[in-house]
Symmetry: C2
Subunit: 410 residues, 2 copies
């Protein structure tokens, strides 16, 4: 399937009769909408001359202070001047890539990794190289070897990009021991780390792990976001970076957009100042935790032998791997016929891998819909297994390169 076919399929997948386990959209209807509406109105009435005016490219200074407070929940100590507010953390990643990556530079990522990160790195012609993951996160020895080989070959590795908490798409969290090892490897090779952490506060069980940023010495750029803990429609994310890096990002942001929406920043400022937002996150965690349990329970009960999947302690995603000879990408049209959708694993690799896997999102559908979705998915998988047993394993078809799902599937 080519990119346009994938998009067409996802257009079909958004029909109400289809249970979509594809979309990574937070459940924003769970927010107190009337109160947020009042808040937005007050921002205009009381601060309208500022809210409707150009702001600075670095972002509102009071909001940046609040972001520093917010990050203390993750054990990050920071100063507002090291923060730049961006249009979602996606823009932060894009600006970093724009500032740092020259064509042909290597960017190391986990295997798999976030689809839109791949697209951004590819847009700036990076040489994207995946490093394997296990249950504890990226394989630190393989990371070490990859860095050593690059150095030997005279190649530049610009940074190692990681999503250490409840990774999108794999659901895996980097353990404390692995974090310490990754820090040691990256420091020894003097390579920058980009730590992308939009899900860190969406933890349903287990213990929070210390951020890489808090273990680093100016060699980590930390990306944060309010998209999953407040709202993606406000597009408020940020980069936390050493001063000289942050200054370059601000210059890049000026060219990229002049300045972020002052209105959105002031709305978020007021929200963080006046709402019980920590309670709201707990509310979200309770809801998302129930959905995660529904998905894992259904997978446990219903999935055929030969399927395996990750068990995330938080976040939005489970990564499922199919039995030998089943191709998740080829299966997608047939799954949609079964009225269920997922994201085939191929979108999350730059090198064509991932045909045997899929990302399952549990954030948006209800527990009941999730169970029904798994039922339908199992029907599709069993159908594929029959096809395989009759006709042989799915033929490997050439990939078209990275094929991003539609934008409502972050």
């Amino acid at each position: 399937m080519v990119a346009s076919e994938v998009r067409a399929l996802f257009a079909v997948a958004s029909r109400p009769e289809i249970v979509s386990l594809a979309g990574g959209m937070p459940n924003v209807a769970a927010l107190p909408l009337d109160q947020i509406g009042d808040l937005a109105k007050d921002v205009i009435s009381e601060e309208g001359a500022a809210a409707l005016q150009y702001g600075s490219a670095q972002g509102d200074p009071v909001l940046r202070e609040q972001i520093c407070d917010y990050m203390t929940l993750e054990g990050v100590r920071s100063v507002p001047d090291d923060v730049i507010v961006t249009v979602g953390s996606q823009q932060a990643l894009d600006l970093i890539t724009r500032v740092f990556v020259d064509p042909g530079d290597i960017v190391l990522t986990e295997a798999p990794t976030y689809v839109t990160a791949i697209n951004t790195f590819a847009a700036f012609q990076a040489d994207i190289r995946h490093v394997s993951m296990d249950d504890e996160g990226v394989d630190a020895d393989e990371l070490d070897r990859a860095l050593t080989e690059a150095a030997k070959a005279g190649r530049t590795v610009k940074f190692f990009y990681t999503i250490p908490n409840f990774q999108n798409p794999a659901g895996i969290t980097m353990s404390a021991e692995r974090r310490a090892r990754v820090m040691e490897v990256c420091e020894r090779h003097d390579v920058l780390i980009v730590e992308d952490n939009p899900y860190g506060l969406l933890r349903y069980d287990g213990e929070p792990q210390p951020t890489l940023y808090s273990q680093g010495e100016g060699n980590v750029i930390y990306l944060g976001s309010l998209s999953k803990t407040l709202s993606p429609g406000l597009r408020i994310g940020w980069a936390l970076a050493p001063s000289a890096v942050r200054a370059k990002l601000v210059l890049a942001a000026e060219s990229a957009m002049l300045s972020h929406s002052t209105f959105n920043q002031l709305v978020v400022r007021r929200y963080l100042n006046t709402f019980p937002w920590r309670e709201q996150i707990k509310t979200f965690n309770s809801m998302y935790g129930e959905r995660r349990d529904a998905l894992l329970g259904a997978l446990n009960t219903m999935m055929p032998d030969g399927c395996t999947w990750t068990r995330p302690e938080g976040g939005f995603f489970v990564w499922a791997t199919l039995p030998e000879g089943i191709d998740a990408k080829a299966m997608l049209p047939r799954a949609v016929n079964h009225r269920v959708a997922y994201v085939p694993g191929t979108g999350f690799f730059a090198d064509g891998r991932g045909r045997d896997s899929m990302r399952l999102s549990f954030c948006y559908p209800t527990p009941e819909q999730i169970r029904e979705g798994v039922r339908r998915l199992v029907g599709a998988i069993e159908g594929e297994m029959d096809l395989r047993d009759t006709f042989g394993p799915a033929m490997a078809t050439p990939t078209e390169g990275s094929q991003a799902p539609t934008p409502d599937l972050p």
Copy 2:
């Protein structure tokens, strides 16, 4: 002065005791803030689940329809599918540059041109070449020669970037005859035109001129914005481009930010749907027209012999050129001592020119403040003239390249 000195100076210039003729900030306090506040509240209460959710990278489809309607006021006929909504028209320009410009490609612009456009082109390593302007706009013969010479030298010209209405910074509007000539030249050389038109509806006298887009055959990308006719703090701009180009811009926007703020788009949608926004533009035009008249009147009355300036029919800016031997950039600290600020012309050239000129903005200060500002400016200029007459013309000092004013000075 280096970039940091310029910024420090503008920080001083934003003090209340200084009349700033530097900032190009629209006067948003003139908007009906309470009503806009109610509108924002209704968007959240009634459409909150959508407003607070991810959207598509191309932008809200209903807003795109409304943008097409809005553009008919400029004589542009278009379809929503050819529109992409961006974070201000700055982002549209940035995406175009990102998609089209390879390092070393030539980008032709007017002389002078918009500062942040220069920064963006430079960020993507374009070879920026200015083409002279006269009272009727860019010199079409010189444009023709520049294109011919580039072709002879085997160099790629990616596009000609123009701000044909009340140009920022020169205030000049391209005449109808000149537009026809520019279209002929660009079509003959098969070069793309990027037509940036944020000020077109802010006309105080004279007649509107047909857009280049409406005279083109798929060789013009048109950029529009609501920053000056509604609010810059909402960051709503757009590109209108032939379908294949628009598709590339959407892919670039996905990498750049995933999607624009749905909330802002729905607020603007509701505003355009329910407010007498054409009346609001008339209100703005009356206010800005009065300020333009105050500035031109004061310049006429008070400026020393040897100074010249443009007489814009709309927009926000007058471009003033100083007497022989006076350096606007060197003069800026002394002007600030006289408690007035402007933007030295050097920011608006990629090649070091512009020391003899300055951009004067009349959008933000009141008519009284404008007159006082000119009084102080004249004091500074006369002081410089005395210095010159005593010590000789200002010494040419090497420039640091493009030095963007602070972000509140678009």
